[in-house]
């Protein structure tokens, strides 16, 4: 984009610091805000020369005034994916719309600081208006999924900070649906930290279905401090800017992490996924399968880093990222990035970018199916194995029509511009 990138970084930082100072208030979040602000003042915001940001410009973030968003209008009706729902709107918990399942307690605080050192995570901490920490009691199996609806909306350019921390105590089990919705020129700068202790088990969904005029930057941190299992399903629709930094720390031998994801960048959408899985101790397993589609002028990025520390022997780590380009103007950049500091590991990775198969298109057309519908069916077919693998029926029922909509012919798209 047009602004000199270094200036953008400085401008964004100045605005972030000012905004953070304005949010000072005497409450339980004060220490975190103060620490984060100090660190933010020393931090350097990325520019396009920063390797992890080379495909993503910060320009859309400084476009307009950086103001902490006031209350945003929630859509009616709210999506309903589970028996229990918590709602945060523009970073603030909506108590009247929230119910907790048994076995989960909620605190209006956030405490995680380590491992959250990126400028955007610091900005989140420094400018918090609210935060929630959910704690699942030890040896408790929460039977129904918990739907965490994270809403951001504004009619004028604004930023909001969404902060969620989840602690799974030993022997606990939870299904969490982390669901982002929203509309308008608002940046949801979100931080989610999930810690799993011994014998804890989490099924995690991350649904990002904001409208296309929104901006989203998020940091998701998994900390497996115990022998635990996390299955995470991440589904991302397109918007003006979506940037997901997902970091998983495997910190106790025997921990297992499975991440699957689908991202769809249509129209002018921009989706940038920066994944980093760190095997810090021996004998952990991680498995990642992501599929991406980009159409029209959409752009999608996936950088999948696997860092196997010295001494983390017996590691099993896999990463697969297959992508489909739907139009000549679309772009996909994918890169597995392995850093391995010991010999006794089994590590596999693969990344591909392809196009819809002409023979398959013709086959469907030869049976009377119009080309646009044939493309939609084949796009859906490309990701279908991941959708069929979603373990919760209520989530699958929501995902299927949403995804079908994302994969339908984009309005006004010039499909034949070859």
């Amino acid at each position: 984009m047009s602004l000199p990138s270094k200036q953008q970084g400085l401008e964004l930082k100045t605005l972030a610091v000012e905004n953070a100072r304005r949010s000072e208030a005497g409450d339980a979040l004060t220490p975190l805000r103060g620490d984060s602000l100090n660190a933010l003042e020393a931090a350097v915001f990325p520019d396009r020369k920063t390797e992890q940001w080379k495909y993503t410009s910060l320009h859309p973030l400084t476009d307009g005034h950086l103001r902490t968003a006031a209350d945003g209008a929630l859509p009616e009706p709210l999506p309903n994916l589970a028996a229990h729902r918590l709602v945060m709107s523009n970073g603030r918990l909506q108590e009247n719309l929230s119910q907790l399942p048994e076995g989960v307690t909620l605190h209006r605080r956030a405490g995680q600081r380590d491992e959250l050192l990126t400028p955007f995570a610091l900005y989140n901490g420094a400018a918090l208006t609210d935060a929630i920490t959910l704690e699942v009691a030890a040896n408790t199996e929460v039977s129904a999924p918990l739907h965490l609806l994270l809403h951001a909306a504004s009619d004028t350019p604004a930023h909001c900070q969404t902060r969620v921390e989840v602690l799974l105590n030993p022997g606990s089990k939870l299904t969490l649906i982390e669901h982002y919705i929203g509309q308008g020129p608002v940046l949801n700068n979100a931080v989610t930290v999930i810690e799993a202790r011994d014998n804890a088990s989490l099924t995690h969904y991350r649904l990002q279905s904001e409208r296309e005029d929104t901006l989203h930057i998020s940091t998701l941190l998994f900390r497996q401090t115990g022998v635990s299992r996390i299955d995470s399903y991440q589904l991302m629709g397109g918007n003006r800017l979506r940037r997901n930094d997902v970091r998983a720390l495997l910190e106790k031998s025997g921990a297992e992490l499975n991440m699957q994801g689908v991202f769809v960048a249509r129209g002018q959408s921009h989706i940038d996924n920066q994944l980093c899985v760190e095997h810090r101790v021996p004998h952990c397993t991680s498995n990642q399968v992501f599929k991406g589609l980009a159409g029209e002028k959409g752009k999608a990025i996936l950088n999948g880093r696997i860092h196997i520390h010295e001494g983390a022997m017996g590691t099993l780590a896999e990463l697969s990222n297959k992508n489909l380009l739907l139009s000549p103007g679309a772009e996909i950049y994918t890169k597995p990035e392995l850093e391995i500091y010991n010999d006794d590991v089994k590590c596999a990775h693969g990344a591909t970018v392809g196009q819809l198969d002409a023979a398959q298109q013709f086959y469907l057309q030869s049976r009377g199916i119009a080309l646009a519908e044939a493309k939609r069916m084949l796009s859906l077919g490309f990701v279908n194995e991941l959708i069929l693998a979603l373990p919760d029926e209520s989530v699958a029922r929501w995902v299927q029509p949403w995804l079908a909509g994302e994969l339908s012919q984009y309005p006004g798209a010039n499909e034949e511009a070859a």
Partner: protein
């Protein structure tokens, strides 16, 4: 119903069909035979509208529609059905979902009553049974992991459901054992009707023991060089294509 006049066609710019004439009337079964490379499969693909198969001269008219002016899906909606020689695998799209989309599109275009999902499933199961295909195949990806014979039977199963005006079978007999061949033939014969035309493209006479044609044509170098009744196929079986083309056939 199908009127092909002086058809010229090229594949990726190379001329393959060089003035082909063929008339198929309702109720007739035609067999098109010929050596490898004579243009048999090209004819089938040109009629169905495959990319890179280009009509460079002449006309193919189906019930008044000039096929060259129709998209592949419009040809199907006009009642053309091609049973592929090599049906493609489409993982992730279930056979059932595919049939639903196809039948919705075609029946709607033809002004036929729409089938609800219960009716569709019942009809699809019946069609599977007719070609000896386990109904479990409806749940699998289109042709995904099917054996050669299963793919061919899947083609005939689709054809039974689509009820085409004109069925084109491109080497449907290739790669089939004798039991599968008879199953496929029974499926095709069940579709014979006074309103429907069937064109069998085949290399061997074998299929014609089970689906007896009204007319047999020999295609060579992009033209029909001889036409006759079913006995022409038998004569070809004995004498080889060299008898008509004047060349030794190596296969």
């Amino acid at each position: 119903m199908l009127e092909i006049r002086d058809l010229h066609a090229a594949v990726n710019g190379k001329a393959i069909l060089k003035g082909l004439d063929l008339t198929v009337n309702p109720g007739e079964v035609h067999a098109i035979m010929g050596p490898n490379g004579s243009g048999k499969s090209t004819l089938a693909n040109v009629l169905a509208g495959r990319d890179n198969y280009e009509i460079t001269g002449g006309q193919a008219i189906l019930d008044g529609h000039d096929l060259a002016e129709l998209e592949p899906e419009e040809r199907a909606q006009a009642g053309l059905f091609l049973a592929f020689q090599y049906p493609v695998e489409i993982p992730g799209v279930s056979n059932m979902e595919f049939l639903k989309a196809a039948l919705e599109a075609v029946r709607k275009a033809q002004g036929k009553e729409e089938w609800d999902s219960v009716t569709l499933l019942r009809k699809a199961r019946e069609a599977c049974k007719q070609v000896n295909l386990d109904a479990q195949f409806l749940k699998r990806g289109v042709n995904e992991g099917f054996s050669g014979g299963e793919k061919k039977r899947n083609e005939i199963m689709q054809m039974l459901l689509m009820e085409p005006r004109l069925a084109l079978l491109d080497e449907t007999d290739s790669g089939l054992d004798i039991d599968a061949l008879q199953t496929v033939a029974r499926g095709v014969n069940s579709l014979r009707s006074p309103e429907r035309g069937i064109v069998l493209v085949t290399h061997y006479q074998r299929l014609l023991d089970y689906i007896v044609p009204d007319h047999v044509h020999v295609l060579s170098d992009g033209r029909i060089i001889k036409s006759g009744g079913k006995e022409l196929a038998l004569e070809l079986e004995q004498k080889g294509y060299g008898w008509l083309t004047g060349e030794e056939e190596s296969a």
